[in-house]
Symmetry: C2
């Protein structure tokens, strides 16, 4: 059991303050006392420390009608740059942020998913980083750190990092990655990155426990309990996409049968349409993103398209059923939906999925849980992994004590 | 997000010490330093404080060949009595423990599950308590407290306690219960009680994260993460028995379809046998406990009973599949099995269920997780709820800061 110290408690208070500042954009000490519930002395000490460390910056001083002028401050955007990099089977997407988490620039690069040789993957990541830096004329010294999300990153008891499926990276490959990128690195898996965005920038500000569900080609959940990301024994917690919806059901791309993902991942949704109407014009659309937007359009169209509507209805039924399982086991305050299927189809899925989730959750857990579309837009993996890199820079500065799994 | 203080940290260290003492029976300060990893100063301070508070007692002093004599101590069994009471739909079972958690006496009383009137349930509990006290000639002043496990106890944001299913107890009924029992009370639900036994007396001593799965008429899981019981937003976490094994599958007694419990709860196991061999002699055995012991016997018998063997094999397949879902979401270090189905059939289920669990868990979570039969024997609900009552007495004494949900 990891031991907590009084430094951890100070760190928790600091996280609350940073949460509140990120949420408010600009704020004052008095507002922070109200929004965090911390004592005036604690808020003053922490804000002064964060200003001293250049994490917060005073933006203006407002002279009130009475009393002393009030200092207004926010995140110090000029402290440096942070990179967030989402490495997936078929692409590398990367964003440069400033230290107030504003997006500065973006780039992406396609990957051939059949190329598994680590050197090639490392080089693709390196080129994306070079491009981001060059496009903005930023040198490496101006970057506080980079976060890299690698698919299926796990941790073994030895502390060594391994990447699954299909990749086997150990310390040699990770060393090579660090050398090529040439920046302080943090590495995590996409579910942990994604829920970290929700934790810092979304519902994590107000909910003690939450699950964030990513809907795309693959599906998965990130879980936050009492403000901390649930990692599990091997950093693999949240693989709800590969929990059972149907014993011995549809074959999943993971090789097992009946996984949630085989029903509500995009190929699963298309499978549902094909079951309902094998010759439907959308049954063979090749690009997944095209399929989802066309399906969303067809299901809402004034021209009746029963198969499209039924596909959306069944997807909501599957989603709500599977969410009820997550609620049964974890009993969170709120579940949020994110990912590109959510952006395209979430509006149609939300209400029926919520109803099904609530009716299928045992006891009163269902009545107590909220289902919402995440307010964190864009690519939550990129944003979340950048946020972990920013956190790491605060840990390095001695301000936070968060445990970050893989730091290079 | 609950705030942690330096008192919580002291409390964590004290829990580690108590864990180690409960585990060892008798121990020394030097042994505690080794087994807890705490500093000598911390161990000395905490042990002195616990001896001062009569929680620990010196049992003997051993004179070594060199140096000062060594003080040997253990839990102080004479501090008082603790009652653990498991109220289920069809029975009330209660055990009196001493403060070293040794069983002093036991009683049980049948309940008519159709009687839902709170006054009658309260009176049954009261009579069981009276009987325990009278049989041992213990007066109420000699009892530190009682723990009562109530089926489906949840908590609402208002802090009010409600009991489901079928019972609706609020503060009026809980007040009546407190008055009738006349002892300091803690109340929790069976899953939280059960996992608390594992946390204090079983695998919780060595594993940071664990799930304990109860197999009986109903099934459910208790979850411990980083040493703390996962409660969830409404104290309903761990209702894995009502997560899906099979969408739209067998009707569960909870009214939903396809729940894990409908396959591996005892009536579910009998359902499997009936599917395989409707006229099998065990298909209509009425008493669940008889059915399970006869099935265990038939499946191991030298006289071939294919239906019994296949029933056990399918139950292990269902169990392993459902455990893989728990592993996917929570990624614990270890899963333990408990409850009376486990005592009767666990030896036959363990190995095939473990294999299925591991092969069905995503990534490497399956390879990392252990599946074991719990070393905490007897009724883990009774033991666990008594342990919560003991914990509460330590909280009242200002020694621990554990948050206990319902304290009357």
């Amino acid at each position: 059991m990891p031991r907590r110290t009084s430094r951890d408690i100070r760190s928790d208070s600091m996280i609350d303050v940073l949460h509140a500042v990120l949420s408010a954009g600009e704020t004052t000490r008095n507002d922070l006392m109200r929004s965090t519930g911390l004592s005036p002395a604690t808020v003053v000490t922490i804000v002064n420390e964060l200003i001293e460390a250049d994490v917060l910056a005073e933006t203006k001083v407002s002279a009130g009608r009475v009393g002393r002028p009030t200092s207004i401050f926010g995140m110090n955007a000029a402290r440096g740059r942070i990179l967030g990099i989402d490495v997936a089977e078929t692409y590398v997407r990367a964003t440069m942020f400033d230290t107030a988490l504003n997006q500065v620039s973006y780039t992406e690069s396609a990957r051939d998913e059949h190329v598994l040789e680590p050197g090639s993957i490392v080089e693709t990541i390196g080129l994306v980083v070079d491009e981001l830096l060059q496009s903005e004329g930023v040198c490496r010294e101006g970057v506080l750190g980079a976060g890299i999300s690698l698919p299926g990153l796990i941790q073994e008891p030895s502390g060594m990092a391994v990447v699954v499926p299909n990749w086997e990276w150990r310390s040699v490959e990770l060393d090579r990655l660090r050398e090529r990128v040439g920046l302080p690195l943090v590495i995590d898996n996409p579910l942990k990155a994604m829920v970290n965005a929700e934790r810092w920038l979304g519902r994590g500000r107000s909910a003690a426990s939450l699950a964030t569900v990513n809907l795309g080609t693959g599906v998965g959940a990130g879980i936050v309990l009492e403000g901390e990301v649930l990692r599990g024994a091997t950093n693999s917690a949240g693989e709800w996409g590969h929990s059972l919806l149907m014993l011995d059901g549809r074959l999943c791309r993971c090789g097992r049968r009946g996984c949630v993902e085989a029903y509500i991942g995009v190929p699963g949704i298309q499978h549902t349409l094909r079951e309902l109407a094998p010759s439907h014009p959308l049954a063979d659309v090749e690009l997944q993103s095209d399929f989802i937007s066309l399906l969303a359009h067809a299901a809402e169209s004034s021209t009746p398209d029963d198969a499209a509507r039924e596909t959306v209805a069944r997807t909501a039924y599957y989603l709500g059923s599977a969410l009820a399982d997550l609620v049964a086991v974890v009993n969170p305050d709120v579940v949020t939906l994110t990912g590109w299927t959510t952006w395209a189809l979430g509006g149609q899925l939300l209400s029926p999925a919520r109803e099904r989730m609530r009716s299928q959750s045992p006891g009163r857990a269902g009545a107590a849980v909220e289902l919402e579309i995440s307010a964190v837009r864009g690519n939550p993996v990129v944003t979340g992994i950048a946020m972990i890199a920013l956190e790491r820079s605060l840990v390095d500065a001695g301000l936070l004590t968060t445990r970050i799994p893989v730091v290079l």
